[in-house]
């Protein structure tokens, strides 16, 4: 193991350091999962504080300043620190296993993505110790300009999102390359598991969506700190430019959040219905169509900004068209249930409930695709109901389905079914109690992002109802966490394929060895394990040849700390940015010259 002078040797693969320096996609997936779930809990606490303040008219629990910070940080935490990385946890852990590979294309880059995400997440969250961002997650100028929000909150927002964007971009490129290049023999694109297809689609979405956001963030950073005027109307700039840049990213972002859940549901429904996914090609192409059309609808977030009639017509039509591929997916999932022999365990309950709750969010989306209707919905609680049915009823329900489904593969243990069902029913009831009444509040004229409202507006009853519902969700999460810790104390009894599932990750041990597969599997059909089962094809015996796996490395976490230092510069002293750049450059040098074994 020859080390070039000045670079670091490969670390040993034991103890805590083995986690810090790991490049194993499964361990990185676990790190993503635990970190993102912790952020999910924190985002949930923020939500409960918001709901507590709004439970009664003229509430006095939280003041206006803290409230604005809480709803801003709730959105940022849930979107960027919880739901996106939970998707990343699944596709990190599962993608190589599902395509019959031994790791991702760039294992060290994968570790770097995680550590950069952790740094960005901690930086954004630490803003609560100084000034948390308070201009909403969409952070419209001029409210987010230095003139109207002088405190550092917006700078935390800008720097935090720039760092998190870097992380997502690296992960996305990694998974594009991995899925296209590293599939097992016989695994053609039209045999890919739907979850892997959705991972590929969101990877492309991320690669294309993050640049406009990055451009906007840097312009805003310069407007705030170095007196440029990209968004300052009085000096010839335009605040609407920010809205375009933000939503060109922001709308595809919605699909980035929901498509992994759609992928999970497309895996779970067939397995527990004991039959193949209904209309596989249609589900795949519908996913591609949603992602493609997703680029032509961003301005529906801006229908009330005074856009002309023609652009509103075009963006309305484009938005409505998305209902078509979405409808195809929903009916194909329902078609998957038809004629099955359905096993209702917790994973399946979450997936079946997903169909219904996601449909509610999908339908209300079509409602405000109509600009006249949107002129009443925009920035009202109706939209709060809509996004939560999509992101909670959709993304989060799908993610929990995935957790129950893949838990035996990830840990070798089963999550308790009794507690699991309790978790499901509490969460399902709580989510509908919390978010359905928000439709009524929107119709009754309640705007979003208000920290208080008057007695006489008749909004009190449903707000109280929603608050009670939110605490039911909170209890369901406690049940889940309890279930998790209880299950982790059980012996590892999970067999390779406990659910009689069809995809390759179930063709190795639970949990899988570091090298994933003793022998790289060969794929002969779309549902490979069912094909092999029905044709009595045995798994090949290991040949005992040496399997080369990428060794751990110090450089990902080192470089991530450099990136974090660079980000801290605009928040404190630019010297830190220079120092961070030095660390990054050193890391690139050492990374390039690192010995391969």
């Amino acid at each position: 193991m020859a080390t070039v002078a000045g670079t670091l040797a490969r670390p040993a693969n034991v103890g805590v350091w083995s986690w810090v320096t790991t490049v194993d996609h499964k361990r990185i997936g676990v790190l993503y999962g635990i970190t993102a779930f912790s952020f999910l809990l924190w985002g949930g606490v923020q939500a409960l504080l918001i709901r507590t303040q709004l439970a009664v008219p003229n509430g006095t629990v939280i003041d206006a300043e803290r409230f604005n910070q809480l709803f801003t940080m709730h959105a940022l935490t849930m979107i960027f620190l919880a739901v996106m990385p939970l998707g990343a946890a699944f596709f990190n852990f599962l993608t190589p296993l599902m395509i019959g590979a031994r790791d991702v294309a760039f294992p060290r880059l994968n570790a770097l993505s995680y550590w950069v995400y952790l740094g960005g997440g901690l930086l954004l969250t630490s803003s609560f110790f100084w000034d948390a961002p308070s201009a909403g997650w969409f952070n419209y100028t001029p409210l987010s300009n230095e003139t109207y929000t002088a405190d550092m909150g917006i700078d935390f927002y800008v720097v935090g999102l720039l760092i998190l964007g870097t992380s997502s971009l690296m992960a996305a490129l990694n998974f594009c390359v991995t899925i296209i290049n590293m599939r097992a023999p016989g695994l053609t694109m039209m045999r890919l598991p739907v979850f892997v297809w959705m991972t590929l689609i969101i990877s492309f979405l991320l690669v294309l969506a993050l640049p406009p956001l990055t451009v906007g963030l840097i312009q805003l950073l310069f407007d705030r700190n170095w007196e440029t005027n990209f968004f300052v109307a009085e000096q010839g700039g335009d605040p609407i430019l920010w809205q375009h840049l933000f939503w060109v990213f922001g709308h595809p972002e919605v699909y980035i959040l929901i498509l992994p859940a759609m992928g999970i549901v497309s895996e779970v429904l067939p397995v527990f219905s004991r039959k193949p996914l209904f209309g596989y090609p249609a589900v795949v192409f519908a996913g591609v169509a949603i992602a493609f059309l997703g680029w032509a609808v961003w301005a529906h977030h801006m229908f009330t900004t005074g856009m002309g009639t023609v652009p509103r017509t075009v963006f309305a039509a484009n938005t409505m068209v998305i209902a078509v591929p979405t409808g195809i997916k929903i009916f194909n999932w329902i078609g998957t249930l038809y004629g099955g022999s359905i096993r209702f365990n917790t994973a399946m309950l979450f997936s079946v409930a997903f169909i219904v709750t996601f449909t509610i969010g999908g339908i209300s989306g079509v409602m405000h695709a109509s600009p006249p209707v949107d002129s009443q919905h925009q920035d009202s609680y109706f939209v709060v109901a809509h996004i939560h049915y999509v992101l909670f009823g959709g993304a989060v329900m799908g993610i929990f389905s995935g957790i129950y489904y893949w838990f035996p593969k990830m840990t070798g243990r089963f999550l308790g079914e009794g507690l699991g069902k309790m978790h499901f029913w509490l969460m399902f009831i709580g989510l509908n109690m919390t978010f359905f009444p928000m439709h009524f509040l929107g119709l009754a004229g309640m705007p979003r992002r208000i920290y208080t409202y008057d007695q006489g507006l008749d909004w009190g009853f449903w707000n109280m109802f929603a608050t009670i519902g939110s605490f039911v969700i909170g209890i369901s999460i406690i049940v889940f966490v309890w279930n998790f810790f209880r299950s982790m104390q059980q012996p590892k009894t999970a067999p390779d394929n406990p659910w009689d599932a069809a995809t390759l990750e179930w063709a190795t041990s639970s949990p899988p060895p570091e090298h994933d597969f003793d022998v790289v599997p060969t794929v002969r059909a779309r549902d490979p394990l069912w094909h092999d089962r029905d044709h009595n094809i045995e798994r090949p015996e290991p040949t005992g040849e040496h399997i080369h796996m990428p060794p751990p490395s110090y450089y990902p976490i080192l470089m991530a700390s450099g990136v974090l230092l660079m980000g801290l510069g605009p928040l404190s002293h630019l010297a830190l940015t220079a120092l961070g750049a030095v660390v990054v450059v050193y890391s690139i040098w050492g990374w390039a010259l690192e010995p391969t074994d």
């Binding site: 001029p142 109307a233 900004t305 079946v352 409602m367 006249p372 002129s375 009443q376």
Partner: protein, 353 residues
């Protein structure tokens, strides 16, 4: 075993269904009855909105029921039972074509009334429209009535008075950040954006003594929640006399306390920001107070307009409205006015009818 337990749950669920349906109906009803409701139609704009809205609501309901019934029905019917073997169906092209075409048809049914309504609400204002400029400030609304040449004939704040049956062409401007102008019963919202000449045209259709409630709908900072306004719709004659009254200069206070209040008012910091036409108070930063006594609320719809609330507001407005740009005036809050002086000023302001 598991399936049975779940079956029980579903059966219980079936009994719950009427209750859930009842709750939904009550909810919709509550949505309709609320004072700031979008479902009450008191303007041609909102009337146009409800064209596609009704269609969308009905179709949404139908699609939801179909999805719910199919999902629940298949879940119950096809659940695991002894002897049941799953049918290995991979798809069905005819069915899939059908359920591609159904959303296409639904979308078309929504699109047509949508575009019809969109062009209705985007029409240019008629020549005889009442011209108004609405200006958003952190955190209140300024309203200016303009003559045919675009000259301001009246400046007021937070309470907009309009005649029934005549189009109002409202130019939407902002003094600072983005705000949004929204009176749910009369019209949908349009934003006030720096550097953009936005406008909205609508015709109020129902005169009534109670105001229609409006509220800023775009996050505009600390007191976004406290940026409310009211729209009074009058019969045309009543509107004309209101406009005439409001154009008068401020009345000379009659009572002792009010007269004393005027004196203090004109010598205090108040006049730096507020105008009272007919006096030396000509500030333009805060709301015009010439006829503040005739308004039903103060602090942009947050407080009822009475002596106690005026005193509270003048004493320390930040206490009522976080971030308020009006500095505290009460001595105990760091200002220059004693409680007696504030009492006199509020009596003066109430006399400005």
């Amino acid at each position: 075993m598991r399936a049975t337990r779940l079956g029980l749950t579903f059966r219980r669920g079936r009994r719950l269904l009427p209750i859930v349906a009842l709750v939904l109906l009550i909810g919709l009803f509550a949505g309709c009855g609320a004072p700031q409701s979008t479902t009450e139609i008191a303007g041609d704009y909102n009337d146009a909105v409800w064209g596609p809205y009704r269609m969308v609501l009905i179709l949404a309901g139908v699609v939801f029921v179909v999805v719910l019934v199919l999902t629940l029905g298949f879940s119950i019917w096809f659940r695991e039972r002894p002897g049941r073997v799953a049918q290995q169906i991979h798809g069905n092209t005819r069915l899939e074509v059908i359920w591609t075409l159904i959303p296409v048809a639904i979308v078309a049914m929504i699109a047509i009334p949508t575009f019809d309504a969109l062009f209705k609400i985007s029409d240019d204002p008629p020549a005889d429209a009442l011209k108004i400029e609405a200006i958003g400030h952190q955190w209140w609304f300024e309203f200016r009535y303009l003559d045919d040449n675009g000259e301001t004939i009246l400046t007021t704040a937070n309470e907009l008075h309009l005649p029934e049956g005549r189009a109002a062409a409202v130019a939407l401007r902002t003094e600072d950040v983005i705000h949004s102008f929204w009176v749910p019963a009369i019209a949908g919202k349009v934003d006030m954006v720096p550097g953009h000449d936005n406008n909205i045209t609508f015709t109020p259709t129902k005169a009534r003594p109670e105001p229609y409630l409006g509220q800023c709908a775009e996050l505009c900072g600390l007191s976004h929640a406290n940026m409310r306004f009211r729209v009074f719709v009058h019969a045309p004659d009543d509107f004309d006399s209101w406009l005439e009254d409001q154009q008068q200069e401020a009345a000379t206070p009659t009572g002792d306390l009010a007269a004393q209040g005027e004196e203090i008012f004109l010598q205090s910091a108040c006049i730096g920001c507020h105008t009272v036409r007919g006096t030396s108070a000509q500030g333009v930063i805060g709301p015009d107070l010439t006829h503040v006594g005739s308004r039903t609320t103060i602090a942009s719809g947050v407080l009822e307009n009475n002596a106690a609330n005026l005193e509270r507001w003048i004493h320390n407005s930040v206490d009522v409205k976080p971030g308020s740009k009006m500095p505290p005036q009460g001595a105990s809050a760091g200002g220059a006015l004693t409680d007696d002086q504030i009492e006199a000023i509020s009596a003066y302001l109430l006399s400005l009818r």
